[in-house]
Amino acid sequence: MKKIILFLFLCCLLVISLFPLCLMFTTAFKPEGNLLMSMNELFPKQWTVKNFKDVWAAGPFDQYFLNSVFVGICVTLGNIIFSLMVAYAFARREFLGKKLFFGTVLLMMMIPAQTIMVPTFILMKHFGWLNTYWALIVPSLVLPFNVFLLKQYLHQLPLSLEEAAKLDGASDFQILFKIVMPLSKPALAVVGINTFLGAWNTFLYPFLLTNTTEMRTLPVGLALYKGLHGVDWVHLMAGAALSSAPVILIFLVFQKMIIRGLTAGAIKE
């Protein structure tokens, strides 16, 4: 009995959680027309894919999509490798200025991105990186949040395995990538999802740093579409659905892996 109530309660919350997204997808399929009349219907009376076609025809969305994927993958891989290295140094090693450097990590988590927007742009210009992938990838290769998260995680890993490996003559890099990395899978899964989502959805920097159609990412392309074609809900929702569908799909496909990563690597003392 208790279980049934619990189950129903969770179902209710699930509906609340998913309802707005459903609304987005179903509205995207509604025919253009007097929307005011059909706003109260969850499902369209006639289903149409015209809105998607319109949005897709308005720009090289396949190119935007590829750009987003490329930038997302590079940034994610970079963070998995580099953030782990940095976090490992903070968690396990003693070195000069450790507290100070960790302080800079915390500091960068607290500074709003808008603060350093203009100087960053100037810097990119001096490097000649405007309108290149470099500008979109390099500054985010080690995100402070990830370093922080991984450091917290590494603290609670048992030291014994690393010490044993060291006795067996493993090098520092071997210890990090052969022993610590596999043990950190759950935290790295969180870092991975986190970073990819962040990179996929980020708007302001790609918008400022790119100039041509070939370099735009999906959110930038969408914002430009919205700017030119005004707001009619069906098209906006179609555009929104188009840009979120890929990540939703990726998440649903890898969902098992991600959750398993979270559970399998759990440390039981």
Binding site: M24, M85, F95, P112, Q114, T115, I116, L236
Partner: protein
């Protein structure tokens, strides 16, 4: 031999000829890719020595982009600006003086005011528009009004609006735009002008708003309110198109959207009503200006292209294509196209009676103040006289602001920054803990990615922002002079900043605890409840996190709108709903955005807690079960204490994120209504990118960072002890 020389000379000259082809970079908002391709191709055929690189900008963020590249010295040769920004750019001294070139064109075009400064002209008007009256002929007939005689005077407008309102409970006589940045004042100022008042005196030195005429106009406007729909322009446009609003003052973009959403609507367009008959019906005019940068290497070619874009053919072509703009060339308005159709006819009729807002550099701030005045009178029932007085005071304050001059180049600033870095480094080295080991070589390799990226992409920009937070820095001109801590004092004295701070704290206090409780509870229920379909729940709750915040904000604007789904649910359940609707309600706008924030971020923390729950040893639960503890006791005695590090982490991170809330506000409310959702980062953004005061913006950022640091510090202290 000689032949060879000639040959080489020929070769050389042809090479240099190719190299001489001018590369013009043009940034614009108004043409879509297809139209611009067509136009550019034609131009390049006629002018083979000019190559055009056209880039399209978005309306929402285009200005940020122009400004950022202006600071970086990377701006295009030609760009398009809205007339509102005209004064800023013309006074900045970065635009090319076109007075000589356009001498003969002056009488031929409309709307020079925005690009004129002290008698000199810095741009060309391109495409123009105005606000005019739309009325629904069917509703006129039903209300017993003559559909061929739209209201010409204020009293006719009032009585027509009343009759239409009386047609039914969901009918509105008129639509009054409120709770946003631009539309409220743009649709109000025609009445203000026609009522005999204005915002600034002719010489732009003082405000003349506080007058009998303004009071009369506002009380007329308030009378109109009882028969009107109060909402954002977008909603009013939609309701007009749906046949629920009888009359509205709006713009030409409606032609297309009405044709799309309700092509059968019978409506007419005409000029703005005046207090009495036979007065010139002035309305607000605005438009797009083309300007050339002083720094452009090809000023002549650039002007050739500007002339081409403002030629009769191109302007008419664009008006015909887009049907929501008019040519700035007066002669082009005589084209039969503009009298062929009742819509274009009414539109161009109104265009002959347009005024532009005062070309004052502070106008961008004043328009915000004006819109806020309308919100106060319309939404908050503030006494008219009081609202006008407050607004005049605000406008006076804006008028008194002065602009510092003085120049420091980017290079000097960089030298300063490097110097600061060296000093910082030496300081750290001197005060280093001598007991600490330097560290192994491999340690430094591990840490190097962070150090490198931090030094280049964080420390340099941070110090840059730090230095300009102590200076007055006008971004358009890059005039910079050090003024000590005056920015900080100004900011702390500004009541707008205190309001923004209050909203931000309210946001954080209202979201962080909810998110925390929901995510812990759900994580524990999913993990320990042993319910079926566990992974379905995990995925379902996480899904909102996957979606981009811009998408979510757009989606919720739809969800929260007057006829949106939320109000539909409330009506179905016979529950009260706020009036006016959520996002334009002064008290409910911020909580509505907060609810969205809780919805969209809980899933993320849920996953973090799920991960943390895995690391709690099962033996603890087993032992307690043997001792007879129930699920609730287990939760409080085992789960919560074990989750402590993660709780601390989530609270700190979530607080930091909440204090930096921005994209939601930017997409959903732009700080309105009556500035009730302005947060600190939004305030910062306005300072830097619409008032062009980077210095003040940077000091806001540093104040915010300070607040965040303080919060995080106390949270860490408190939670470490408590739990």
């Amino acid at each position: 031999m000689k032949k060879n020389i000639f040959f080489f000379m020929f070769l050389f000259s042809s090479v240099s000829f190719v190299a001489l082809a001018a590369d013009l970079h043009v940034w614009q908002f108004s043409m879509d890719e297809e139209q611009s391709r067509f136009i550019v191709e034609r131009f390049e055929k006629e002018n083979p020595n000019i190559k055009i690189h056209l880039q399209q900008l978005s309306w929402d963020f285009g200005n940020d982009k122009i400004i950022t590249s202006m600071i970086a010295g990377n701006a295009p040769d030609i760009f398009e600006i809205g007339s509102t920004f005209g004064p800023h750019f013309s006074q900045s001294g970065v635009l090319r003086d076109l007075t000589e070139e356009v001498k003969d064109l002056k009488d031929k075009y409309l709307m020079w005011e925005p690009v004129t400064h002290e008698g000199k002209i810095y741009g060309m008007p391109w495409l123009v528009g105005t606000r005019f009256l739309f009325y629904n002929k069917v509703l006129f007939k039903r209300a017993g009004l003559d559909p061929h005689h739209p209201p010409k005077t204020w009293s006719e407008l009032l009585s027509a609006a009343e009759k239409i309102k009386n047609l039914g409970p969901d009918m509105y006589g008129y639509g009054i735009s409120v709770a946003e940045e631009f539309s409220p004042w743009q649709t109000f100022i025609p009445y203000l002008w026609n009522g005999g008042s204005d915002v600034l005196s002719l010489d732009l030195s003082q405000t003349i708003l506080n007058s009998r005429a303004t009071q009369n106009t506002l009380s007329f406007y308030r009378q109109l309110k009882s028969f009107s729909l109060l909402n954002r322009q977008e909603q009013i446009d939609q309701m007009f198109s749906a046949g629920k609003v009888g009359i509205m003052l709006s713009g030409a973009w409606n032609f297309k959207s009405i044709a799309k959403t309700n092509s059968l609507l019978e409506y007419g367009v005409t000029t703005v009503p005046t207090p009495e008959e036979h007065l010139p019906p002035y309305s607000f005019g605005g438009g797009e200006m083309l300007v050339i940068l002083k720094k452009s290497s090809y000023p002549k070619e650039a002007f050739t292209f500007v002339q081409y874009l403002t030629s009769k053919e191109v302007e008419i072509f664009l008006s015909k294509e887009q049907r929501n703009v008019l040519p700035s060339l007066k002669e082009a308005l005589n084209d039969p196209f503009f009298s062929s159709d009742f819509r274009m006819k009414g539109f161009s009729e109104q265009m002959r009676f347009t005024k532009t807002p005062p070309a004052h550099i502070g106008w961008i701030k004043m328009e915000r103040v004006l819109s806020s005045m309308i919100d106060q009178v319309m939404l908050q029932e503030e006494p008219i006289e009081k609202a006008i007085q407050k607004t005049s005071l605000d406008i006076d304050r804006i008028l008194q602001e002065t602009h510092e001059k003085g120049e420091i180049s980017d290079k000097k600033l960089t030298v300063w920054i490097l110097l600061l870095i060296v000093i910082l480094f030496l300081g750290c080295w001197f005060f280093r803990n001598r007991l600490e080991p330097i560290g192994a070589f491999s340690t430094w390799i591990f840490i190097s990615p962070w150090i490198l990226l931090f030094l280049i992409f964080s420390l340099y920009p941070l110090l840059y922002a730090f230095l300009i937070s102590f200076s007055s820095y006008h971004v358009l001109t890059s005039h910079l002079s050090f003024i000590g801590i005056r920015n900080y004092i100004e900011i702390l004295k500004d009541s707008e900043f205190r309001k923004a701070l209050y909203h931000t704290l309210f946001f954080a206090v209202g979201t962080v605890p909810f998110t925390l409780v929901i995510s812990i509870l759900l994580a524990t229920l999913i993990d320990h409840g042993k319910v079926p379909f566990k992974s379905l729940f995990q995925a379902g709750f996480f899904l909102p996190v996957v979606t981009s915040i811009i998408v979510i904000a757009t989606l919720f604007t739809y969800f929260y709108s007057e006829n949106g789904f939320l109000n539909f649910i409330l009506t179905t359940l016979y529950l009260p709903k706020p009036d006016p609707s959520w996002l334009i309600h002064k008290t409910w706008a911020l909580p509505a955005i907060m609810a969205m924030a809780v919805w969209s971020s809980s899933g993320y923390y849920l996953i973090l807690f799920l991960a943390a729950l895995q690391s709690i040893p099962q033996s603890l639960y087993e032992a307690s079960r043997l001792d007879g503890a129930n699920a609730v006791q287990q939760f409080f005695k085992i789960t919560l204490p074990q989750l402590k590090p993660m709780i601390l982490f989530v609270v700190v991170i979530n607080t930091i994120n909440s204090l930096q809330v921005f994209p939601e506000i930017f997409t959903m409310t732009k700080g309105g209504p009556a500035r009730s959702t302005t947060t600190i980062v939004y305030y910062l953004y306005e300072k830097g990118f619409s008032e062009f005061k980077m210095g003040e913006a940077s000091s806001v950022a540093y104040l915010l960072a300070l607040i965040i640091c303080a919060f995080s510090y106390f949270q860490m202290r408190l939670l470490r002890e408590k739990i």
